[in-house]
């Protein structure tokens, strides 16, 4: 049983470790990666500087209202985790400063980054040991959480679609009423012009 758990733990670690990508940052540049995340969702991630280490890079994480959630100066290798309060676009920004270069005069640095949200971020080996689940049950538990997540996203999409439908109906009626208003204004100004000029010439002729 212990060997099985060990394999499982190793497998999930391996599985999560190979899910990262790299971005390149030049001197005095800021590169941001954004992702739309639900409220009350667990977000975990890891970052590391790819050899050779040339520039000093900071990691700043902003929430959808542009408040700073996390600010790590001169990162090396590390992890982060936080829980989101509000729904929206979260930004993971890497900034480089020229003053604190490690060595040499190279002008770009590769950073390896990886993040997970929602059910992907949860540590299932931990849940497995706490609730005494065997690997099959853990996989089913993973699926349960995945299905719940899908369901929540569908409900959220439903609300958004309703808001969009309201906007569309408003646009539709606006196009109609504003066009009618334009036609009325056009006719009224035309008639007003004709009568005004008629009056004006009559006045001039008399005088």
């Amino acid at each position: 049983m212990k060997i099985c758990l060990l394999f499982f733990v190793l497998a999930t670690l391996f599985f999560s470790a190979t899910n990262s990508f790299q971005i390149e940052i030049k001197e005095r540049q800021e590169k941001c990666i954004s992702e739309e995340i639900e409220h009350d969702s667990l977000v975990t991630g890891s970052y590391s500087l790819v050899e050779p280490k040339q520039l000093a890079v900071d990691l700043i994480i902003y929430d959808s209202k542009h408040h700073t959630i996390l600010h790590k100066h001169t990162i090396e290798d590390g992890k982060f985790a936080f829980r989101t309060d509000i729904h929206g676009d979260y930004k993971f920004c890497f900034t480089s400063h020229r003053q604190q270069a490690f060595q040499g005069s190279a002008s770009s640095q590769r950073v390896e980054f990886d993040f997970k949200m929602g059910s992907e971020a949860r540590d299932y080996s931990d849940i497995a040991t706490k609730e005494h689940l065997n690997p099959l049950e853990t996989e089913i538990r993973k699926m349960q959480d995945l299905v719940l997540e899908i369901h929540e996203e569908i409900l959220y999409s439903k609300n958004r679609e309703e808001a969009m439908r309201n906007t569309n109906e408003s646009t539709n009626s606006r196009v109609l009423w504003f066009s009618i208003l334009s036609i009325i204004v056009l006719i009224v100004t035309g008639i007003f012009q004709a009568y005004y000029l008629k009056d004006y010439f009559k006045k001039k002729k008399i005088l």
């Binding site: 060997i3 099985c4 394999f7 499982f8 190793l10 497998a11 999930t12 391996f14 599985f15 190979t18 899910n19 990508f21 790299q22 971005i23 390149e24 590169k31 941001c32 990666i33 954004s34 992702e35 739309e36 676009d89 590769r110 690997p135 099959l136 996989e139 089913i140 993973k142 699926m143 995945l146 299905v147 997540e149 899908i150 996203e153 569908i154 999409s157 958004r160 679609e161 808001a163 969009m164 906007t167 569309n168 408003s170 646009t171 606006r174 196009v175 504003f178 066009s179 208003l181 334009s182 204004v185 056009l186 100004t189 035309g190 007003f192 012009q193 005004y196 000029l197 010439f201 001039k204």
Partner: protein, 201 residues
């Protein structure tokens, strides 16, 4: 039992990994994402332009040997699947060279499947139908999640367009009404001036 567990665990490594992010490409520049990929991995890139100018981008995929695998000009969205021939660092670039002022936001989704030693597939024979079913279900669920993410981005783009249309209808109509009244007032004043000048002369 041990074989089953080993194959179950190793099989999870086969299941497609989903990696979806949104990047900003400034005007006149190119942004790249580097990813280490093993050989014989099926890689699928899904990209959509979320916002910015003409909503088009130049995607480009380069293999570890520097050979360009995929390149398109001015695409709004696209999907491309390829099988990696060698292991190494693959470059997924998006160029915004056609725009001199506006930055573009691109959402990309990278999916991988397979790629580890094929000998593990042989162990699949030790899986019972139940275990097989569970694994297949997981695979299906992940693909549902991936489709859902794609639709989410599409909906976001759509909503931006709708709200922009709604605002435009309002403001441009105000401008139109104002212009109509201003033009007819100008016409009247102009005609008056003509006759007043004639009278003076």
């Amino acid at each position: 039992m041990k074989f089953f567990l080993l194959s179950l665990i190793l099989f999870t490594l086969f299941v497609s990994k989903i990696n979806s992010i949104t990047i900003t490409v400034s005007a006149n520049s190119k942004e790249c994402i580097f990813e280490k990929i093993d050989k014989r991995t099926s890689v699928t890139l899904l990209y959509q332009v979320v916002s910015g100018g003409g909503m088009d981008i130049n995607p480009e995929i380069t293999g570890p040997d520097g050979v360009v695998i995929y390149r398109r000009d001015r695409e709004k969205e696209g999907k491309f699947t390829f099988l990696s021939r060698s292991s190494g660092m693959f470059k997924f670039c998006f160029g915004n060279e056609m725009s001199h002022l506006t930055a573009k936001q691109v959402n990309l989704d990278l999916q991988f499947s397979g790629g580890h030693s094929n000998s593990e597939i042989a162990k699949k024979e030790h899986l019972t139908p139940l275990e097989n079913g569970v694994l297949e279900l997981q695979e299906q669920l992940r693909s549902i999640l991936s489709e859902q993410r794609y639709l989410k981005v599409r909906e976001h783009i759509h909503r931006n367009t709708t709200e922009s249309t709604n605002a435009r209808v309002l403001w441009w109509n105000f401008l139109q009404t104002f212009l109509l009244i201003a033009i007819s007032a100008t016409q009247i004043i102009y005609v008056r001036r003509i006759f007043e000048r004639r009278r003076r002369i």
